[in-house]
């Protein structure tokens, strides 16, 4: 069952659930943050409309800088603006930023400790027809390895808006991962969000605080595959398995407390992300649990391959990121329990 305290979208499992691109939530959040704080400025590298910075640009033209196709400059100029007391948000596609400008982000933002907010859109294979060159599958790995960098992958447009607002206030270098394709709305305005906090969205027995009941397996998901994860959990639940789903929007810092409780209760996990299985959220979870409470983990993610052209749905299936693949991985993890 869904966690009632979180006021999730009651239509999550309906076929006509409302859908919105996660990136749209970033645009709304940026506008809202800029309205309440004059220090917020925006920078874009020739992708203003598709990264949803256009509304901000129109409303605050004097606080918007068009950098052109120059992502290295994008990051370092933002650092300079932060040095003058601004709260810069920069946006591009994740393959270019933080892909192309990783060293500028490392040196001028993270090492330099400037509170620049980096929005990387078009992450994952669900970018679709543009093909593998434009499908960022490595961004979580290269960002979470940077000291000081906060890394967030919101699960829907509403969470993306809240994450953007929270990033405007956290005074830290922050990466927000966004997806292009429309995905189901999972949360509501009333769903709590805080950087660094995970939440149990689904639990077969209703023990959302993870205190008592033993379960067969738990799914830990981040970003755009949350809906597929919930579908997988619901199917497993219908089939008689006891399962939980943890929404882990902040990959860094990890909500270690909740992960520990989840691992203790489930004894086996499957991690789900639209990213390389290597180096991403699953790796972060494994690094923590291996040291503190080792349990079998299956990793749903892209397995050392690049993306390709296709429809988002075709690609999610082809790369074994769909609900059926998550279900199968969950069963494998449960079987590995001693």
């Amino acid at each position: 069952m869904l966690n009632p305290d979180l006021k999730l979208n009651p239509k999550i499992f309906d076929t006509d659930v409302e859908q919105q691109p996660i990136r749209a939530g970033f645009g709304e959040g940026l506008l809202q943050a800029a309205e309440s704080d004059t220090r917020v400025v925006g920078l874009c590298a020739d992708l203003t409309e598709s990264t949803h910075m256009l509304a901000f640009k129109k409303q605050f033209p004097d606080r918007f800088v068009e950098i052109g196709v120059a992502e290295q400059n994008l990051a370092a100029v933002a650092s300079g603006l932060a040095a003058m007391g601004k709260i810069p948000f920069l946006s591009s596609y994740a393959v270019f930023s933080p892909g192309r400008n990783w060293e500028q982000i490392r040196t001028t933002v993270a090492y330099n400790n400037q509170p620049v907010k980096i929005a990387g859109s078009h992450a994952g294979v669900s970018v679709g027809p543009d093909g593998g060159s434009h499908q960022a599958l490595e961004d979580l790995a290269i960002m979470r390895v940077l000291p000081r960098m906060v890394v967030i992958a919101p699960c829907d447009a509403i969470e993306a808006r809240k994450a953007t607002l929270a990033a405007a206030k956290n005074d830290q270098p922050t990466y927000i991962r966004l997806a292009r394709e429309k995905t189901p709305i999972i949360t509501t305005e009333a769903t709590p969000f805080a950087i660094g906090q995970a939440a149990v969205f689904f639990h077969s027995t209703g023990d959302f605080k993870l205190l008592t009941d033993k379960i067969d397996v738990a799914i830990v998901a981040t970003g755009s595959l949350m809906h597929e994860s919930l579908l997988a959990a619901n199917a497993l639940h219908q089939a008689g398995k006891k399962v939980a789903v943890l929404n882990l929007p902040t990959i860094k810092p990890l909500d270690e407390g909740l992960l520990l409780l989840l691992a203790r209760q489930a004894g086996a996990l499957v991690t789900v992300e639209e990213h390389q299985a290597a180096g991403g959220m699953g790796s972060a979870v494994a690094e923590y649990l291996t040291a503190h409470f080792p349990v079998p983990i299956e990793f749903v993610g892209v397995k050392d391959r690049f993306g390709q052209s296709g429809t988002p749905a075709e690609l999610i299936k082809l790369y074994n990121l769909d609900a059926a693949s998550i279900q199968a991985a969950a069963l494998r993890a449960a079987l590995r329990k001693k």
Partner: protein, 290 residues
């Protein structure tokens, strides 16, 4: 107003002290860069002892001018000048590059108050200076009294990021931004025009709509005229290409690219270097060709 003879003499004396601090620190550190710090000593001296607005007792004073050192490897000259300007005791120069020192091998702004950025990897300083100049304009429009200075090497102009920043600076007409390029013609692997030719350098900057000046980087009157002119230019950022002599002040090391990235280490080298910087008598051999 042009520099008086007294002011030029004072700057020459300061520059000699700064060169001495640089060399003594490098010898003690046993690693670091020699050529660039020595060839930029006159320009740093001019900036800190004549041009820049700052308060060493309040390094975060908001109305200070900003000095961004893009080529972080020449930080011994920045540190030495800051020390002589009162940011920290000159003796601390001998901690350069050692464990726990505020004087990191490449500058980190959180270690030493007064540093505006952390740098080392080349080619990104101008971007940060451009961001500062835009931030200043957002706050103050064209009335700001703050100047943003960016000091760059010629070698780092190989990096595309430098030109991305140059394009944006020209587009945004950042009149509050002045770049000074250390045109010493050397980089690690050899002479710049052999490694990756930069000439015609003036034309390149003009093409991006910058106001361009060329000066003798060891002549205080030249430096002063160019910086003053840069601040008078309206609706354009300025770049000053300062021709300098690598390792200026130690004749035996001058113009040799081998001294780009190493300090004097052998007893002979140390003796040559110390003799040169300790016997300048408060004056450098500045070419007064005006």
């Amino acid at each position: 107003m042009a520099l008086t003879d007294e002011k030029v003499s004072l700057l020459e004396e300061k520059a000699a002290l700064i060169r001495r601090s640089i060399v003594e620190a490098l010898i003690e550190a046993k690693s670091g860069h020699t050529a660039g710090p020595l060839d930029m000593a006159d320009i740093f001296t001019y900036l800190f002892f004549h041009a820049l607005k700052y308060d060493p007792r309040k390094p975060d004073w908001p109305y200070r001018d900003r000095l961004v050192l893009s080529n972080g490897h020449i930080c011994p000259v920045l540190y030495a000048t800051m020390a002589h300007a009162g940011y920290f005791p000159v003796e601390e120069m001998l901690t350069l590059r050692k464990l726990g020192s505020r004087l990191q091998g490449h500058p980190h702004r959180e270690w030493l108050p007064g540093l505006e950025t952390s740098s080392g990897p080349l080619g990104s300083g101008l971007s940060q200076a451009v961001g500062m100049a835009i931030g200043d304009r957002i706050d103050n429009g064209h009335t700001s009294g703050r100047q943003i200075y960016c000091l760059m090497s010629d070698g780092e102009l190989d990096a595309g990021n430098s030109w991305e920043a140059a394009m944006l600076g020209g587009k945004e007409k950042l009149q509050n931004l002045t770049v000074i390029i250390d045109r010493n013609n050397i980089q690690i692997d050899g002479f710049t025009e052999d490694i990756m030719p930069l000439n015609p350098l003036v034309d390149k900057w003009r093409a991006w709509n910058w106001h361009v000046q060329e000066i003798d980087g060891h002549n205080f009157r030249d430096i002063d005229r160019a910086v003053s002119e840069a601040q008078a230019v309206f609706d354009k950022p300025s770049v000053i290409i300062a021709y300098t002599i690598p390792s200026k002040g130690i004749p035996e090391f001058e113009r040799k690219f081998e001294w780009h990235g190493k300090p004097p280490t052998t007893p002979e080298e140390i003796e040559i270097a110390l003799r040169a910087v300790r016997t300048l008598g408060g004056r450098i051999e500045a070419p007064h060709h005006d």
